[in-house]
């Protein structure tokens, strides 16, 4: 089944930063880490700060986990599982993401 949606070109990515894409009315935060060479996609809505801001957070690692820090109140979310490290009752949706022929593509969660 091929419900992959292209959201931008590979060249639109700036390493170690995020951007926000609109996928079927949902806001998705997409990150590219140069060091891990991987793409990550989670929901853009910060459930704690209650605003659409996560794509504007700083990414990094805590222990083994690759994380984004909310730019509002600095909680960390695991980019692979969506789990909030400080307040586990919150999780983000995680979206399948891939690089295909120079294009960045997302699938609904």
């Amino acid at each position: 089944m091929s419900n992959w949606t292209t959201i931008c070109k590979e060249t639109d990515l700036t390493p170690d930063t995020g951007l926000c894409a609109l996928l079927d009315g949902e806001q998705v935060a997409v990150f590219y880490s140069k060091k891990t060479g991987e793409l990550y996609a989670v929901s853009n809505f910060d459930p704690i700060g209650e605003a659409n801001v996560l794509s504007r957070g700083i990414i990094g690692s805590i222990g083994e986990a690759v994380v984004v820090a909310s730019p509002l109140y600095k909680q960390h979310f695991d980019l692979k599982t969506g789990a909030c490290l400080e307040e586990p009752e919150h999780t983000l949706k995680v979206y399948p993401v891939r690089l295909e022929a120079g294009e960045v593509q997302l699938q609904p969660a």
Partner: protein, 844 residues
């Protein structure tokens, strides 16, 4: 029960302490307090008197205020001397004839300077050094003099010499004894001190007995000495010791010691019922204590006795550590080795000019005294060993020998100290109290100072306090580790050194060579700030942008709904009507909530990502620059209107503020930096609550540093006085770069200074005296930073590539649908949760 009436004669340091302690006592409401002061003001800090010559005002020196006394029901009469004592009827009479009865009488009359009975000693420019009025007279006299002599080479004499030297006079010290500070120092220490002081340009004459003071030939006076020599001078300052002020007690029959002083027992009672004596006028066990700490203890003891307690005065240690004319000097216990059988270790380095002598007991096990000149780091350890009667370590010489390369100086291990060990004598803080403070959450020096006051007096115990703090932290299982985060085993200061010395230009380079993992939201912005401080490249370069907090990425301050605020620079708070109109028009066009900031500029709230570039294009076109309100960087230089308009203005504060703001604008630093310039001492710009504060005086600019408003207010410290603009800028360059190099992450200058070992004196040494030989380097770094300045918004609006980031979605022109606003006081604000549904509906 009617209240007991307490009369306190003298409102000096100790008299005030007594009153303050009594007010803090749970039984305070059982007492009525009246105090008489011969001086025209309430108690001030005599210990810091000399700071008057480096710019402190009488107000700065005050230990209390009339308001505080009034609020606490303390009656006080200034300029009123108590002249008679009627102990039979429990009454005193004052110079104006006022009669006051007492239940308890406390004599805290202090002491007066001894002026040797030399013919001619009462002339106009023969002065003493004890009160604020004395200082005013010295200043006035110095202004009409070229040469000054201090009679007396003791502790106070050398302080006085420093004051004369600072006033620009050719300065001489005339001492009767064969060496300086004969009471506190031995021969070796005295000799080195003399050499150092002479190198500083002060002339020292020992073994001189002044016979007479007559008219001079080239100067106002000529001092003739017993040995036939003479010295010409324009003014003379007597500092030949103090005598207890016991006149009143003596006249009205209290017991007086043979050589003066009101005799007291262990409860500070005199021989007459209900009369106490405390402070420098009191003679206990045949001794007068000429230091403030024992006086404070006596005050405590007297309060205890009056309120029914049983504290006793048991004598006091007279060890001292101080800086005289910039020379570090310390004396502990039996400095002369008079203890029977005492032996000593001596370290004398004539090249580095350091002298240390450790005097130990006959069995070699205990410290009985020490003399330290030129390097007093060992003071805290040695003093504690003596006071707590602790055994010396195996190799006592190690306590005064310099540490070899790489090894730490030998400490005594503060763990060995009992909890009762007094660490800070100014505020009587014990090791146990510091431990308690640590246990209740104080984990740095700033917090310890706040909670216990330790090392906020003379500062002599700072190193020891820090040792106790560190030891206690590690005892409690805190790792005393300054690692910035899990990715770097370095503190921010160390990272800054690495970046600077290895000329590292990117985070990846830093992480690959010195770190691990991917980095995080702690180390990345810290590294970005360090890189910006030293290299100052455009923060949105591809290799830098991922390090920045969102505020720096989008050059605005993110608000709670994810929109940004816009703050253009308004240097010095000066703005033309045309520019104001532009701001108004832009705000109106984009419906931005508008507010005036505390930093004298205008904040426009509620801009969405895609709006930022268009708005900024308009602002840049109208001549605005970014205000860096989003960065940990130099924010604003606030100013009052100054001499251009103000009737009281002494100098052009607005002009200088603009010059300073233009120089440092955008400078990135460990935390935000706020400045202010006031045009006169009325201080309307509130410069003394800023990181850098400048105040105009008749003779130039005074420079204050490390003040803070905000969460933990801190009054700024006076760094230097009467500067010309050029020197001031130089000092600020050095100060800022030194802070940038050495501060912790997110550490404001106020906290930084409180944790800086050596404190303000050390900072002055670095910034003014260039003790580290870094001044030129620091200035050059600042020049380089300034040369690379660019308005980040101008660069950004001119770069189509960078503008791509400024949209909410990469794949749609839609905007964030989650935003909702309501109108309040004629402007919009984000809707609260409970208002949202209605607001969104309304928007649809």
């Amino acid at each position: 029960m009617s209240k007991q009436r307490i009369v306190v004669v003298g409102n000096g340091m100790v008299g005030h302490k007594f009153i303050d302690n009594l007010l803090q006592d749970p039984k305070a409401d059982q007492f009525d307090i009246v105090t008489f002061s011969e001086e025209p003001r309430l108690a001030y800090d005599r210990v810091q008197l000399s700071s008057y010559f480096s710019g402190a005002t009488a107000d700065d020196l005050m230990l209390t205020s009339e308001g505080y006394y009034r609020d606490n029901g303390v009656n006080f009469v200034l300029n009123e001397k108590v002249t008679e004592l009627d102990t039979a009827n429990n009454q005193v009479v004052t110079s104006s004839g006022r009669v006051e009865s007492y239940d308890k009488l406390v004599l805290a009359t202090g002491s007066f300077p001894f002026v040797p009975p030399i013919p001619g000693n009462d002339q106009e420019h023969c002065l003493v050094y004890r009160t604020i009025e004395d200082l005013e007279a010295i200043s006035a006299s110095a202004a009409q003099s070229k040469i000054g002599v201090v009679v007396g080479g003791g502790l106070l004499g050398l302080e006085a010499a420093n004051a004369l030297k600072a006033a620009g006079l050719e300065t001489h010290v005339v001492e009767f004894a064969p060496r300086l500070m004969a009471v506190q120092l031995d021969e070796g220490g005295g000799k080195l001190l003399r050499r150092k002081i002479e190198e500083l340009g002060v002339n020292v004459h020992t073994e001189k007995a002044t016979k007479e003071i007559v008219a001079g030939e080239n100067c106002r006076y000529r001092m003739n000495f017993a040995d036939g020599s003479h010295l010409e001078t324009d003014m003379i300052l007597f500092s030949a010791g103090i005598r207890p002020q016991d006149e009143l007690a003596r006249q009205f029959g209290l017991e007086i010691g043979e050589r003066g002083g009101i005799v007291v027992n262990d409860s500070c009672q005199t021989n007459v019922d209900n009369v106490y004596a405390i402070g420098e006028c009191a003679l206990w066990s045949g001794r007068i204590y000429g230091l403030v700490a024992p006086g404070y203890t006596m005050a405590k003891v007297a309060v205890s006795h009056i309120t029914g307690g049983d504290e006793q005065f048991r004598g006091a240690d007279m060890s001292t550590k101080l800086k005289l004319l910039g020379v570090d000097v310390a004396s502990i216990g039996d400095a002369h080795g008079n203890t029977p059988g005492a032996q000593s270790y001596t370290y004398n380095d004539e090249i580095e000019q350091v002298y240390k002598r450790l005097i130990v007991s006959a069995d070699g096990k205990k410290v009985v005294g020490a003399v330290l000149v030129g390097d007093v780091d060992a003071y805290g350890n040695l003093l504690q060993l003596m006071l707590n009667d602790m055994d010396l370590p195996g190799n006592p010489a190690g306590l005064i020998l310099p540490a070899g390369d790489g090894e730490a100086a030998m400490g005594l291990g503060v763990d060995a100290l009992p909890d009762t060990a007094q660490i800070c004598s100014c505020y009587d803080v014990t090791k146990g109290m510091i431990k308690e403070a640590v246990a209740s959450g104080c984990t740095d020096m700033g917090a310890i100072k706040g909670a216990t006051k330790a090392s906020t007096g003379c500062g002599g115990c700072a190193a020891l306090t820090k040792q106790v703090l560190d030891a206690e932290l590690s005892n409690l299982g805190y790792e005393v580790k300054n690692d910035i985060c899990e990715h770097f085993a370095y503190s921010r200061k160390e990272l800054a050194d690495i970046v600077r010395v290895k000329k590292i230009k990117t985070f990846d380079e830093l992480l690959d060579s010195h770190g691990k993992g991917l980095g995080c939201d702690v180390c990345k912005p810290a590294a970005a700030s360090i890189l910006a401080s030293f290299w100052n490249e455009y923060v949105l370069e591809d290799n830098l942008v991922g390090l920045q907090d969102t505020n720096d990425v989008f050059l605005g301050n993110m608000q709670k709904d994810g929109t940004y605020s816009i703050v253009p620079r308004v240097a010095g708070g000066e703005i033309t009507p045309d520019k104001l109109i532009v701001l108004g028009e832009v705000a109106k066009e984009y419906n931005l909530y508008t507010k005036i900031t505390g930093g004298q500029r205008i904040d426009l709230f509620g801009a969405q990502l895609h709006e930022l570039p268009v708005i900024w294009k308009k602002l840049v076109d109208a001549g605005f620059e970014t205000g860096h309100a989003y960065g940990k960087s130099v924010r604003t230089v606030k100013s009052c209107v100054g001499s251009t308009w103000c009737r009281y203005g002494v100098d052009d504060s607005v002009g200088f503020a603009i010059e300073i703001e233009d120089r440092y604008k955008g400078l990135r630093s460990p935390h935000k930096l706020k400045f202010a310039v006031s045009g006169c001492t009325r201080e309307c710009a509130e410069a003394q609550s800023k990181d850098v504060g400048v105040i105009a005086t008749e003779n130039g600019w005074n420079l204050y540093v490390c003040g803070n408003g905000g969460m933990r207010p801190r009054h700024a410290d006076l760094l230097a006085t009467d500067l010309d603009a050029e020197t001031l800028i130089k000092y600020v360059d050095r100060f800022l770069m030194f802070y940038i190099r050495t501060a912790d992450r997110l550490q404001r200058t106020s906290v930084w200074l409180e944790n800086l070992e050596g404190g303000l004196a050390y900072l002055k040494d670095v910034v003014i005296n260039d003790k580290l030989g870094l001044a030129a380097e620091l200035e050059a770094e600042m020049e380089a930073n300034i040369a690379n300045y660019q308005c980040e918004w101008k660069t950004t609006v001119e770069s189509p590539e960078k503008l791509k980031r400024f949209r909410h979605f990469i794949n749609s022109d839609a905007t964030d649908s989650n935003l909702a606003y309501v109108v309040e006081r004629e402007q919009r604000r984000p809707a609260f949760k409970e208002e949202r549904i209605a607001a969104v509906e309304l928007a649809d």
